[in-house]
Amino acid sequence: MNLAIRDIRHNLSRFSLTALGIGMLLMLVMGMGGIYQGLIEDATLMVDRIGANLWVVQYATRGPFAEISRIPRNLEDRLRAVPGVKSARAFVTYVVQREYRKKPLRMQVQGLSWPEDKGEWLPLVSGRALGAAHLEMVADKILGPRLGDKVPLGKDVYTVVGITSGMNSTGGDGMAFFTLLDSLAIQFDIPGEAIRLERNARRSRVARIDFGKTQPSLLERAELPSASLPAIASPPVSAVLVQLQAGTDPASVIRTLSGWTDISVFTRQQQEELLLKGVVDRARRQLGLFRALLIIISAIIMALILYTLTLEKVHDIAMLKLIGARNSVILGLILQQALMLGLLGYVFAFYVGKWVFPMFPRRVVVTHDDLLSLAVIVLGISVLSAVLGIWKAMRVEPNEVVS
């Protein structure tokens, strides 16, 4: 006869509510683990997905994700000439916060080097990759706009042609993918008045120097758009992504590039380390600590619940001892209840979490390894928390039932 099951059946609603409470706590533990894992995945997502062998960034920076990096776009051409390089393409990344349908639209803009990179590697859930050089965007579903929506950014309106899932930045913002030129246009969008003022300022500066005074045509040229002036550099990009030819040793290319004093080079693995050790490290450690605290709190609460359940049964335990029940019968009653409480709580945490986690503003990634380790932890805290109840039960004297 299983006393634990019969006791639970007798107090089903109370036991279920207790399991529900434990389940909520375990769901938090599971969620913390998921957010922690999500943070790591978000941090390395772009680096993993984009699949470049080398990341070339501004000299002495750790860009483009860990810090700002600005390099000239023509670096692409220089890199293509390096032996072992199969392709090189510019890449732009930055965060913007605009307004869309009267709600803030905060997104990580990713500029892809059209037409080499149309974003065909993106995890699309609907629509397609970029199909035109301008005015198209692929947005992550977390951002809000739906397929076919028109999103005004800068002076242009972009059509959402594709929707991705799970493409978030380390800050938890959804990503939006544009062609490189469109991303630069959004980044360096300057109002007409500012352009006019800049052109006037440029003309005044030229007019003050001798060369401007003697060359009237120079004054006229100073007022032309920046793109028409060879003396003014085109907007910089964040990085250049290098794909190596098959069989090329990345170290040999890095050795070659180490002689270039205007850039820094990182392998994919180094880029991931930069993100994990730099960008998300504190958040990761904080979440880890919070998770550990939640596990301890769950264990304490479970122990107190089981202790209280045991206290309520002191009289019955005394009676069991009086009629000669072995310790294993009493120990089994408490331990089985602890395990059932842990199991029910875990199942509850799993299913409710599965339903609730997608609603979280940040990505929650619950991996099989995490589930397994949590199951082991739940087993551990169930057994540990039963110890207090068992200790109490073992101290109950059979003559307590007589008095």
Partner: protein, 240 residues
């Protein structure tokens, strides 16, 4: 005519709590013996030591000095247990207390069955034996009810069934009728007598209830922790 064999022998039972200035003598030099199939009343005012005697005979309290022999087994010699007390209780002693003390989450049948399972009788034999006892005690029709659905008398009869489940040598009852009306109280006492005489079980009942004393074969009277009298029911006669 064959002499009934000795079920229990108590020699010089003494129980002292505390020590030095705070020493309390709960029981002093109590000796008696009970025969198989005997129904014995243990009388005495509150604080006389009845419960102490019952818990000591029932092997749930320790002795300061004295000896207890059950059947041919010396089970306690002073504070030292000579047998595994819990195992001994499980196999040879049944308890009926003032309150039925049934396990609240088990049905009447399961409460009796549990006592059998604890003694390694399980499955169908346990169920049949439990049902047989409940029917014998007139509560077979309430076998599947939880304790809170039973009246006080019914609960007490289930408790008696549980005490008898493992065919004990000795049944100890502490104020078993205190929570019952006089008719049901008498019913329980008569039940003890029938069981003792039919099954050869020795029954020792601590009671305040003088209305049903006629059912007992012998009466032990305690006062201030000592055995004041030990006589067969009827004309007083001191047992040597």
């Amino acid at each position: 005519m064959t002499q009934p064999s000795r079920a229990i022998e108590a020699e010089g039972l003494t129980r002292v709590y505390g020590s030095g200035h705070v020493e309390v003598v709960a029981m002093r030099d109590v000796s008696f013996s009970l025969s198989e199939g005997e129904v014995v009343a243990l009388l005495g005012p509150s604080g006389a030591g009845k419960s102490t005697l019952l818990t000591i005979i029932g092997l749930i309290n320790t002795l300061t000095s004295g000896k207890i022999t059950i059947g041919n087994d010396l089970v306690m010699d002073g504070p030292e247990a000579k047998v595994n007390l819990r195992s001994y209780r499980r196999r040879f002693i049944g308890y009926v207390l003032q309150k039925a003390n049934l396990i609240p989450f088990l049905t009447g049948l399961e409460n009796v069955q549990l006592a059998l399972e604890i003694n390694d009788v399980s499955g169908r034999p346990a169920r049949l034996r439990a049902m047989e006892l409940l029917e014998y005690l007139g509560v077979g029709n309430r076998a599947n009810n939880l304790p809170h659905m039973l009246s006080g008398g019914e609960q007490q009869r289930v408790a008696v069934a549980r005490a008898l489940a493992n065919k004990p040598r000795l049944v100890l009852a502490d104020e078993p009728t205190a929570a019952l009306d006089s008719a049901r109280g008498r019913q329980v006492m008569e039940l003890f007598r029938t069981l003792a005489h039919e099954q050869g079980t020795t029954v020792l009942v601590a009671t305040h209830d003088h209305r049903a004393l006629d059912v007992f074969d012998r009466i032990l009277e305690m006062e201030d922790g000592t055995l004041r009298s030990n006589h067969k029911n009827g004309p007083k006669e001191i047992d040597p």
